[in-house]
Amino acid sequence: MSRLLEVESLRVEYAAGRMRRTLVSDVSLHVDRGETIAIVGESGSGKTLTARAIIRLLPTGVEATAKRMALDGADILSLSAREAGGLRGNRISMIFQDPFTMLNPVLRCRGHLEEVLRNRAKPLRRSQARADAIARLAEVGITEPGAADRYPFQLSGGMRQRVGLAAALAGDPELLIADEPSTALDVTTQAEILELLKSVQRARGMGLVLITHDLRVAFSVADRVYVLYAGSLVEVSDADALQDEPLHPYSLGLLLSEPATEFKQAQLLAIDGSVPAPDDVATQCTFAARCRWSAPQCVAAAPPLREVGPGRESACVRLEEIRGEMTAVRREVRTALLEPAAQAGTAPFLAVRDLAKVFSGQRGGVVRALSGVDIVVGPGESVGIVGESGSGKTTLGRCLVGLETPTGGAIEIDGIDATSYAKLSSADRARLRRTIQIVFQDPYSSLDRTETVGAALREVLAVNKYPSDRIASRIDDLLVRVGLPVGYAKRRPAALSGGERQRVVIARTLAIGPKLIVCDEPVSALDVSVQAQILNLFRELREELGLSYLFITHDLAVVRQVVDRVYVLYRGNVVEQGPVARVLDEPRHEYTKRLISSIPRAAA
């Protein structure tokens, strides 16, 4: 196989005035013709910037330098902006994460392709361009007649991502860069898109660079994997070999913090802390501060990548010493916890009967978000609601806490009729608030960014009539309770990482002392290594405070780890329910089976 792309010592910096900040340091990689590589890393690792430097689409103020960058042996580093523009779309293409904003809303599907097709060397006749566009849409699985003439808003996310892919392929590129192409999609669609990418790549024999935060996605598609951490490579390996045995503590951590779907882990391994800024760790092992095997030699100098096996490179200086221990840790984390049988017989704490919610649209259209949903949660029980976007799971959670009023059915929480919050007396409303609370998905916008953490907690305590002389000590308790230093009370949300913000949100919820917490996708906006921290926190809180959870999520692995019983929601209906082990191991409903089979796994 010949080298298609070669990048040597790529460095990406942000420069504004005299300030310079390293974003990517010294990354070397290559892609052979017909090969798929994956660049894996958490947010802030520099994976997207690496790809954007290759295709020359860096944001303003960001500069890239490299020793060498060549496509098919020819230098592409010294190309002018205009020449680089000629490269884009024709020899190198890119598809992006968000299929909802990637397409131009006023252009028909085929328009996106025709634009590229007619822009090529030979001018095409209109009719020919149209025929060509339709043929190319067929390549990505859009065969339905008339689909080519639809506008993006008439298509589902998966369909849009297909159109985006077809447009990226319209210039017949030799190299395709896919930046988290499946992350914004539902699980079942995700699997289809990855499958499609793989098959298109094989059929065309092109090079594919897949950027992802999800090792499982990388294993299912890529031949080789580059693991990026804080702007530098920590491990390069064949995908299969990496899956068998990661040779860097970070890769191991990343692999292990991915919760298992097959069984309930005795303990979820979390990597403490969060990703540092590259400049702060420039002269040491970037992972040292979070590594359990960190030793003086790790912080003495920045360890370069070195060959540690056939086709394998690792930046760990202590690899030989700790290899045995790493394997042991992996075995330990993979031990299953015996799943307790769901308790029965106790009076339900939360009972939802025949719940319906209909949204009426502006032009008389109606959307049935929920119809005839029955759900029961016992005291101290953790119950999961699983479903994809549009299944009504979020609407259900919002009805429970009074953010929406259901159009039918009944909700009873701890003996109070909570069907319509507006009809309750203010005393009952206050009692309900102290009983049921909600944690939202996005920790970034769940906090008022103008006030400090302490002020946010104080407010909740004060409005709920907590004795004012004990508020200060209660704030400290709450912060400690969720694993944050007491000093964080003085910080504003901007100074916190995503995981820390979610801890603050949980602390704020606990301030009110609820018995049941509705968790609406509480970890899906977080990095994998942080997800495990938060899931562990949820587990601990439940053990210590006897909380009940209603866990709303699309992620079956999350469900497996924190939930006793699960309801599967599909288009506003409960299609299956039961103990989590039973539902995930022996699904009965067609839809549940499809959900489970779409979890990304390594190619056999």
Binding site: T65, A66, T450, N464
Partner: protein
């Protein structure tokens, strides 16, 4: 190991950086101008070389000289002194208009956006009605009929001005209302008034202040226009718009007499707008990290 770069390139999606950096020098100048005007409004009386009302009928319409830096007007009054004396009127009136606008727009706009329903409907129809009124024309008529005066003009402008702000802040509040931090506050039992006027207001405050700066500049121009038409300040009072009108006949003998107040109005109004813009850019929370 540091790589000696063979070649490098920059991000190249539109050279936006050049545009962004320009205002900082720009803003500094704007700050200096506003500072000078404020300073003159407060301490101007000690700096005026002459009494702004003192007439010197032997030296009328004189061009700039070492005695009169900006020359004299048709009644022989020192133009520099009158310009300095006019700084007060250039600030107080527009400031009152901007502050009343800020309070009314914040109060009604956030209420309208957050509450929705009937309250929203009533406020918005009211705003629509206010929009339909030809503002300056009404000001001219009212001030003309009632009989002029600076503060009457300020009052009329204050009443006619705030409806635009209500609309802008309603939109901003509407956007905030759907954010999880607001919904969290609701489920946590934070009172409505506190959600609206503490949380939402603080989050949209860059828009509030930028809008107030714009109101200030518009009010300055509107008040000057009224004075120019002889409807604002009473005759003889040093006010930039009035000076413009009074000195118009001097265009050929002492053009500085007309140009100086005109330039003062334009520079001051522009500077305030620029600062409003800067404030908005500086304090807007953009992006998820909100740095």
């Amino acid at each position: 190991m540091t790589a000696t770069a063979a070649s490098s390139f920059r991000g190249s999606i539109i050279g936006h950086s050049g545009l962004r950096r320009l205002p900082s020098a720009f803003t500094t100048v704007a700050f200096i101008i506003v500072f000078v005007v404020v300073f003159l409004a407060i301490f101007g009386r000690f700096l005026q070389p002459y009494d702004p009302a003192a007439q010197d009928l032997f030296h009328t319409s004189a061009p700039p000289s070492s005695d009169h830096w900006l020359g004299t007007d048709g009644l022989g009054r020192d133009i520099l002194s009158r310009l300095i004396a006019g700084a007060g009127a250039a600030i107080t009136g527009p400031f009152v208009v901007a502050i009343t606008g800020l309070i009314a727009a914040s109060g009604l706009g956030i209420l309208s956006g957050y509450m929705g329903g009937t309250i929203d409907l009533v406020i918005q129809r009211f705003v629509d009605f206010m929009f339909a009124l030809p503002g300056l024309l009404i000001a001219i008529v009212v001030v003309g009929v009632v009989g002029g005066g600076y503060w009457l003009a300020v009052l009329v402008l204050s009443l006619l001005n705030f409806s635009g702000g209500v609309r802008i802040l309603r939109g901003a509040a509407l956007e905030q209302r759907a954010l999880p931090y607001v919904e969290a506050a609701r489920t946590l039992g934070v009172p409505r008034r506190r959600i609206m006027y503490r949380h939402i207001w603080r989050n949209i405050s860059p828009i509030v202040f930028a809008n107030a700066a714009l109101d200030f500049a518009l009010a300055l121009v509107a008040l000057s226009s009224l004075s120019y038409l002889g409807l604002g300040t009473s005759p003889g009072e040093p006010e930039w718009g009035r000076m413009l009108a009074e000195n118009q006949p001097l265009l050929f003998s002492n053009p500085v007499g007309v140009l100086a107040p005109a330039i003062a109005i334009v520079l001051f109004a522009t500077s305030v707008t620029v600062i409003g813009d800067w404030f908005y850019d500086r304090f807007s929370f953009s992006g998820r990290t909100g740095r």
